[in-house]
């Protein structure tokens, strides 16, 4: 006979059990009175916390919150999105390149067909056809994957660095995990965490340099901030979570973690591999 634990019962009430396991548990609940009593106690506990009234946000509270936040807001200036900037820079270069190719091809095309010559052993018509294909890809007209693009549509000139670099993505993931662990623990770091911090620090310098060379300044800025936090953690293990330095470091860890999560969020959004979070009903009604 299948046995069920308290976790199974909690998972059942929270809708976290598989269909098959749920069916087995339902059947067991009908036969086992003790299990049914335990299940009811869990359900009652959940009900006790399920119907908490929501706070009311009235005009006064909104005004109060706004008045507190408003003075701290700096005037923003539009910053072109990193990928968009790269695309524009890359796109401009590609367009200039394409124009040069067209000029060259036209020069050859005018001369070659009349004389029916081959250029580097390749018939002139073939060169013109390749130029036409390249132009179609550049202009996003090609519906099939092209040799210059490996995908349908416009030629990708500068792909997103994080999304395209699994080792950088893995590095940022690992950093996020380690910093989360650090922020959730008190006192000195565990030796294995300390080792991870040290390894991350060594790798971080390389990724920073790479991002900077690439001109990917927003990623470089996050990596740079991460480097500062890692250096502090590596050099000065926290003796106590209550001293001022430690508190400041905790704050910095929190900021860097947020940056990493936003970068991760942006990257995943770019890759379209993350579904939007399910929001509570009231938010859905008003927001989307």
């Amino acid at each position: 006979m299948t046995t069920f634990t308290e976790d199974d019962l909690i998972a059942y009430h929270l809708g976290e059990l598989s269909w098959l396991r749920r069916r087995q548990l339902r059947s067991a609940l009908e036969k086992d009175a003790a299990l049914a009593a335990e299940s009811e106690a869990i359900a009652e506990t959940l009900r006790a916390f399920g119907a908490e009234p929501a706070p009311v946000v009235d005009e006064a509270m909104l005004e109060r919150t706004w008045q507190r936040v408003r003075p701290t807001l700096e005037v923003l200036s539009p910053v072109p999105h990193r990928a968009r900037t790269l695309w524009m820079v890359g796109g401009g270069s590609a367009l200039a390149g394409a124009t040069a190719v067209v000029v060259l091809v036209l020069t050859f095309a005018q001369r070659v067909p009349s004389q029916q010559e081959a250029v580097n052993g390749e018939p002139a018509g073939s060169i013109a056809a390749r130029a036409h294909d390249l132009l179609a890809e550049l202009q996003g007209k090609s519906k099939v994957a092209g040799a210059n693009n490996n995908q349908a549509g416009s030629v990708m000139v500068l792909p997103d660095a994080v999304a395209e670099d699994p080792s950088l993505a893995a590095h940022l993931d690992m950093a996020e995990r380690v910093l989360t662990e650090v922020s959730h623990s008190d006192g000195r770091l565990q030796p294995e965490t300390q080792d991870q911090v040290h390894r991350l620090l060594l790798e971080n310098a390389m990724y920073y340099q790479s991002a900077e060379t690439r001109g990917d300044m927003s990623t470089a800025a996050v990596i740079d901030d991460l480097g500062r936090v890692l250096t502090s953690l590596d050099a000065e293990p926290r003796a106590s979570a209550h001293d001022e330095d430690s508190f400041r470091l905790q704050m910095k860890v929190g900021d860097v973690l947020l940056d990493l999560r936003i970068l991760d969020h942006d990257t995943k959004k770019q890759g379209n591999d993350v579904k939007p979070a399910k929001l509570p009903a009231s938010t859905k009604e008003t927001s989307f």
Binding site: A11, T45, P55, V79, L257, D266
Partner: protein
């Protein structure tokens, strides 16, 4: 995302700070409900909500317009509230009980004026719930609130907490187990969780 929100974001990014009020006005209720549930008191809830909107504002130029601002600020608020709860748990001198001596209860939605008895029962129920929640670690509390009260799926909770999905799931299970034991029959034989449910149902 609604067009007026996109317009507001465009205006804010172009330098119009006051346009941010539109976004705050729309999303403050959901954010505040979340932060109240995670922090357990209105003082911290307001602080975490303000922090979330401030952080979102600073990151707004990098915000991808095709994403939903509501989802984004909600996730930032999860982190702000969790950070605050963790900071408070380290600072033993912190006491969020307001000056009038009442427990830090957020104002609640009431469709009618409650009787004094009803208000007393509500306050008792709230105190019981809050006392029970105090035994949870910040991570357990956040995971439980997000899963059970805010109906967020485990992958979202795991991302918010920065832990693997299984750890997030275990944190929720541990929280429910602890709450259940905390609300077990009291000395007078009443089942505390049952009393809370009755109090809510008679509302």
């Amino acid at each position: 995302m609604a067009k007026d929100e996109q317009d507001a974001i465009g205006r804010v990014v172009a330098g119009d700070r006051d346009a941010y009020r539109v976004l705050m006005e729309r999303h403050l209720p959901a954010v505040l409900r979340l932060t109240t549930r995670i922090t357990g008191n209105s003082v911290d809830a307001e602080e975490a909500a303000q922090d979330a909107f401030l952080r979102a504002y600073r990151k707004l130029p990098e915000f991808r317009r095709e994403a939903a601002f509501g989802t984004w600020v909600y996730r930032i608020a999860m982190n702000c509230a969790l950070d605050l709860v963790e900071r408070r748990s380290r600072d033993l001198n912190w006491n969020a009980v307001p000056m009038d001596g009442e427990p830090g209860v957020a104002p609640v939605a009431e469709s009618h004026r409650a009787s004094p008895e009803r208000e007393l029962l509500d306050r008792e129920a709230q105190t019981l719930r809050e006392e029970a929640m105090q035994i949870l670690t910040p991570m357990e509390r956040t995971a439980f609130v997000l899963r059970h009260m805010e109906d967020q799926p485990i992958p979202v909770i795991s991302a918010a907490l920065g832990v693997p999905e299984n750890s997030a799931r275990q944190a929720v299970f541990r929280a429910v187990g602890k709450l259940r034991r905390q609300l077990k029959p009291s000395r007078d034989g009443r089942f505390a969780a049952g009393a809370l449910v009755q109090a809510q149902e008679s509302r």
